[in-house]
């Protein structure tokens, strides 16, 4: 019966979307959103218990399945979407009160939020590469609407850019998917040629030439969504112009889910090609993203753009690590995905609250937070220190492991990585210091908001850095075995 639980967990947000759409702009929408997310979280934990008891399983005639690689991502999505809904409850209320947002759009906002969550959960749980593609497309469409929520010229422009670029990317990914099907078609034939579980069993027998081209399309396609350089043009605008909760889930979840898709296909392609050419491809993309992302930081004045570029850098790091391959690197990459998801969302919560309090997103206009609002100031400080990888936060652990793995596999890349990390640290900390300390600027009326979500995330990140739960570690290790050659 717990097979059905999986389906339920996926369907909860969809149902919630309908409900919230119906609720429209009523105040109850906020709490209802939280409730739906909580329900999703409950479903996810139920599913997790099942996985802990008896390993990975599939349901609905192998249409849905869960394995160590996806289970922690599912939990991550459920958890972060829940905390984000908590945050958005207070934040969006304030936005409406401050007159930034037309209350009539709240219905769309909440509904699309849940659709987005649904799409990501579907992408993670589905066993069918076609459905995976549909889910990613759905995520694109829903977020396009969310990004343009404010209907300001800037937000519309950003949403348009996002729609076009990610649309093209997704289309390319579809061609890749078709080619994988084409390659598997002659081996498995028919519908089974789309199922992960079956594909993995025959990955050695897929035609390498086709798989190579397929992987090119897939990495370019889904890579656009991950925000790999040079396909990242949409990312800063989308993060900067969308509502803050959406920036949080975009950076924290969507990028990771897209990377998840790439990683699965990479395993397939490497199995077929019997070389780690796909890995090299990912290493290249990863390094480019790390370097460009880090170097682009210093010319940003908009607080959310700054952290958007830091997302480019971190996703690049994860991609790089996945590209290295091998148990250690993959372990590190998965850890990095998790830590980054938690940290970056907490960073966006805080910086959104900061922007709301200061009344501007321009960092030059924000000073002396720690005197005006100590809790907020210290949270921002802690979050940005966490994102630049200072211990004891989790990102430090993953970066350390990635360095070691890189020294094993590609020593030449280590100086570049160190350079990028140093630059990112310098720029972000300098900006944060300027915002947190100094004389308080023009004092805005502080808006009521809860810092519960960032606090919760920070606690989790510290746990990741000091003592990774053994269950999680076990998952990572199994996932690494699954993905690794």
């Amino acid at each position: 019966m717990s097979d059905v639980a999986l389906a339920w967990m996926v369907l909860i947000p969809l149902a919630g979307a309908a409900l919230l759409g119906a609720l429209g702009s009523r105040q109850s929408g906020f709490s209802a959103n939280v409730a739906v997310s909580l329900a999703t979280l409950a479903g996810a934990s139920f599913m997790t218990v099942r996985v802990v008891q008896d390993g990975s399983f599939s349901s609905l005639h192998h249409e849905l399945f869960v394995d160590p690689l996806s289970v922690f991502l599912i939990d991550l999505v459920a958890f972060v979407s829940f905390t984000t809904s908590l945050f958005s409850r207070s934040y969006m209320r304030a936005e409406v009160r401050l007159g930034h947002l037309d209350p009539a759009r709240l219905g769309t906002y909440h509904a699309m939020y849940q659709v987005f969550i649904f799409a990501m959960l579907l992408a993670l749980t589905c066993n069918n590469i076609g459905v995976l593609w549909i889910a990613m497309e759905g995520a694109t469409l829903s977020t396009a609407l969310l990004i343009s929520l404010y209907r300001t010229p800037a937000s519309l422009g950003a949403a348009w850019k996002y729609f076009i670029l990610c649309g093209v990317g997704i289309a390319l990914a579809l061609l890749g998917t078709i080619m994988v099907y084409f390659a598997a078609h002659s081996v498995l034939g028919g519908h089974r040629a789309l199922l992960w579980t079956d594909l993995y069993s025959v990955k050695g027998r897929l035609d390498p030439a086709i798989m190579a081209i397929a992987f090119v399309f897939l990495i370019v396609g889904y890579g656009t969504k991950v925000g790999l350089v040079p396909l990242h043009a949409w990312l800063p605008d989308a993060h900067a112009e969308g509502p803050t909760p959406i920036s949080a889930v975009l950076s924290g979840l969507l990028l990771s889910v897209a990377l998840y898709a790439i990683v699965r296909f990479k395993a397939l392609a490497e199995g077929a090609l019997r070389t780690n050419w796909p890995g090299h491809l990912m290493i290249g993309f990863g390094l480019a993203s790390v370097l460009i992302g880090a170097f682009s930081l210093s010319s940003q004045r908009d607080i959310k753009r700054l952290f958007a570029y830091s997302s480019v850098e971190h996703m690049g790091l994860a991609t790089f690590a996945f590209g290295l391959g091998g148990p250690l690197a993959t372990f590190a990459a998965l850890l990095h995905m998790t830590a980054h998801a938690l940290t970056k969302s907490s960073v966006f919560f805080t910086s959104g609250a900061v922007a709301q309090t200061a009344g501007t997103k321009d960092m030059d206009g924000i000073t002396g937070l720690v005197d005006r609002d100590p809790a907020l100031g210290w949270t921002l400080m802690a979050s940005s220190l966490a994102i630049v990888g200072t211990p004891p936060f989790g990102i430090f652990a993953s970066e350390f492991l990635i360095l070691i793995a890189a020294l094993h596999k590609a020593p030449w890349s280590v100086p570049l990585l160190l350079l990028a990390l140093g630059v990112a640290f310098a720029v972000i900390v300098r900006r944060t210091q300027a915002m947190v300390f100094g004389a308080p600027g023009a004092s805005q009326a502080p808006t009521p908001r809860t810092l519960f979500a960032p606090f919760a995330h920070l606690v989790l990140i510290v746990i990741l850095g000091l003592a990774i739960p053994h269950l999680l570690a076990a998952w990572y290790t199994q996932a690494a075995r699954l993905v690794g050659p």
């Binding site: 350390f400 300098r430 100094g438 000091l466 570690a473």
Partner: protein, 670 residues
């Protein structure tokens, strides 16, 4: 290794718990002012515990422990050996004094109170302890960065001033660059293990890695960069003279006395214990960098006009001397002269201890002066010996100690260092044997400069007459502050008169590092310290000096019919118009500026003939700042600008990028 929670660990854990509690409690002193007075004294108690633990750890086998925390398969390892023990003692004793002094700060409202810095301060103490006892690279890095961050927060306590923020950021930045170097060093060692095998981060495992010469050299360079950045060796010293002055004085004391030594500790730990036998060039590099740092520090401190900057540069100088000693030890052990290596190490560690004591004393003293006068510029101070006689007396001890004159402690380590230099003739390479005594000469020059600097410092701050009218109303500092000063002064005297006692503390550590006993003898009620036939017996000197001075006083006083008559100053008949005719700090630095003009980047503003208000100003800048850091900053700025302009803005361009990527990859596809 035997895992146990013995008495030492018990003490350390209790100190950690106590400090965490205090850190947690400090912010609440606003709401409950009644607990405020107890915060820092309790912190001192914790420091005492740590010092005791260090003392216990000196003798007896190294005690290891494994914490429940940690990454999977990587619990945090702790290890208490003689080296940790020695540094824990240094840290504990100094911190007791500093905490006492801080406790005295309560009455000054806009000075660091428990409410403002209690949390950071006690977190810093805890992380320092962890750095000294960490036995695996992961927990070491965590403690290391926690230390860096908390100290950074302490540095920018007065964050309203832009200069403070800049200095704090520079500190944190260089700190982190160093940390990245350390990270790389550890990662390289860890990656030495077989690819498949489970990683092990413990220092013992890293030692077992046995990297080949090239890798070991690379690791040494990286570690040297990392720990050098912490200790303030050139060219990474620039943060030090900026960060130490802007911090609250007790914090400056902690930074100078303890945090710089952490860099030394790490260098010793990596170079002697973790890495295999050093190559000669390690020693040579360390030695020359150390000597250059010492010279630069001494010269720069001689030309400073801000009393805390002066002391900060003097810290650079002392760290340089310590590093030079370590370099000597590395050279000796590279050529297998273990006994001599031990001698050099004892000299270096002795100087660590001394510097902790007298620099702490001096910085705390500047804190008292700052309270009394609210003035840091030497050109405004003067004559405080009349206003705050007790502080002045204690500071005189510190001044003489750092000037390295017998029979105080500064001289003992200088003496040992010179003895070690003299033994360098034993080195098999002639150019080394000939060159290194010149190092001894450089050391002597630096010591002489230190004397010059200290005369300038003490003479201008405490002697003469107040250069500024409203500074004349200074009050003697509080009882607790003087207690802190007194404790450190006492330690200076003790370490000066009873070298054998100190050497007994150092010997196990040095032995652990070099693996041999030193050719160094102590005797005569534990006060004689000898290298070969050369001996130095401080207490005999004390007695002889005292006896003769006493005899002179007695004879002359007895014979003198009348006591001295108090009159106005003679001054060759010129009446003393104003206090402005006294020599200024600038004036005192003038000879140095002229003799060593080549080493200093100086800009002078001279009055023109027709100036209404003629003013003379000269600013000294660090050559490294102009020559190294500004160009680097410009380079990065260019790089960033280039990247920013290359970002695709238009959708069409981005799509073109996608197309190009696609085509390129399809071409590449196998």
């Amino acid at each position: 290794m035997n895992v146990s929670i013995g008495l030492p660990w018990g003490l350390i854990l209790s100190a950690l718990v106590l400090w965490s509690a205090l850190a947690f409690a400090s912010p609440f002193t606003v709401r409950f002012p009644r607990i405020a007075p107890f915060i820092f004294p309790l912190g001192a108690v914790g420091a005492l515990c740590v010092a005791t633990a260090g003392l216990l750890a000196l003798h007896g086998p190294p005690v290891a422990t494994i914490s429940p925390l940690g990454l999977p398969g990587l619990p945090f390892h702790g290890r208490l050996d003689a080296l940790s023990g020695f540094f824990l003692i240094l840290f504990g004793l100094t911190t007791v004094a500093i905490s006492l002094d801080l406790a005295g700060y309560r009455r000054h409202e806009h000075y660091p109170t428990a409410e403002r810095i209690g949390a950071q301060y006690h977190i810093l103490l805890a992380s320092l302890t962890l750095v000294f006892v960490a036995a695996d690279s992961y927990s070491f890095m965590i403690a290391w960065e926690a230390m860096a961050l908390s100290s950074y927060l302490l540095v920018i306590t007065d964050h309203l001033s832009g200069a403070t923020r800049r200095a704090g950021f520079l500190y944190l930045l260089i700190e982190h660059v160093g940390a990245l170097a350390l990270l790389a060093a550890f990662a390289i060692l860890i990656a030495q293990g077989p690819a498949g095998a489970p990683l092990s981060f413990t220092f013992t495992a890293l030692h077992a890695a046995h990297p080949d010469a090239a890798v070991a050299g690379l690791v040494f360079i990286l570690a040297f960069l990392g720990f050098g950045a912490k200790a303030g060796l050139i060219p990474l010293h620039v943060w030090l003279p900026q960060a130490h002055p802007v911090a609250p004085s007790p914090i400056s004391a902690l930074l100078s006395s303890v945090l710089l030594k952490v860099g030394i500790y790490g260098l010793l730990r990596v170079a002697f214990i973790i890495l295999p036998t050093p190559a000669p060039w390690w020693g040579l590099t360390t030695l020359s960098i150390g000597l250059m740092t010492a010279l630069l520090g001494a010269l720069s401190s001689a030309v400073q006009n801000d009393m805390k900057r002066l002391l900060a540069y003097s810290s650079v100088e002392n760290i340089g001397l310590i590093t030079a000693g370590i370099g000597l030890a590395l050279l000796f052990s590279a050529y297998g002269l273990k006994a001599l290596a031990t001698l050099a190490l004892i000299a270096a560690l002795y100087h660590c201890l001394n510097h902790a004591f007298f620099k702490g004393l001096l910085f705390l003293g500047t804190g008292s002066v700052l309270h009394a006068t609210g003035e840091r510029r030497l050109s405004r101070l003067g004559g405080l010996i009349h206003r705050m006689p007790q502080t002045a007396l204690l500071m005189l001890i510190g001044t003489l100690a750092i000037a390295g004159v017998p029979p105080l402690n500064g001289f003992v380590s200088e003496w040992l260092t010179l003895q070690a230099f003299l033994k360098a003739t034993a080195l098999p390479r002639p150019y080394l044997a000939m060159g290194i005594p010149l190092g001894a000469a450089l050391t002597a020059l630096v010591a002489g400069l230190a004397g010059y600097v200290m005369v300038k410092f003490y003479g201008i701050v405490f002697l003469g007459r107040p250069r500024d009218a409203q500074r004349a109303q200074a009050r003697e500092s509080g009882r607790l502050e003087r207690a802190g000063l007194g404790l450190l002064a006492l330690l200076c005297l003790l370490a000066g008169v009873w070298p054998a006692g100190v050497i007994a503390l150092i010997r196990p550590a040095a032995h652990l590092l070099s693996g041999a006993n030193a050719m160094i003898t102590t005797g005569d009620l534990g006060a004689r310290v000898g290298v070969g036939h050369a001996t130095y017996v401080p207490w005999v000197l004390w007695i002889a000096l005292g006896a003769i001075a006493l005899a002179a006083i007695l004879i002359l006083r007895v014979r003198a019919a009348r006591g001295a008559r108090r009159v106005p100053v003679w001054n060759c008949g010129h009446p003393l118009a104003s206090a402005r005719i006294q020599d200024t700090a600038e004036g005192f630095g003038q000879p140095i500026r002229d003799v060593f003009a080549a080493f200093l980047a100086m800009r002078r503003h001279r009055p023109a003939q027709d100036d209404r208000v003629p003013r003379y100003a000269s600013t000294i800048e660090d050559r490294f700042w102009q020559g190294l850091y500004q160009p680097a900053a410009r380079g990065f700025a260019l790089l960033f600008a280039a990247t920013a302009t290359r970002q695709p803005r238009r959708i069409a361009i981005s799509l073109l990028g996608v197309l190009m990527t696609l085509i390129g990859l399809l071409v590449l596809a196998p």
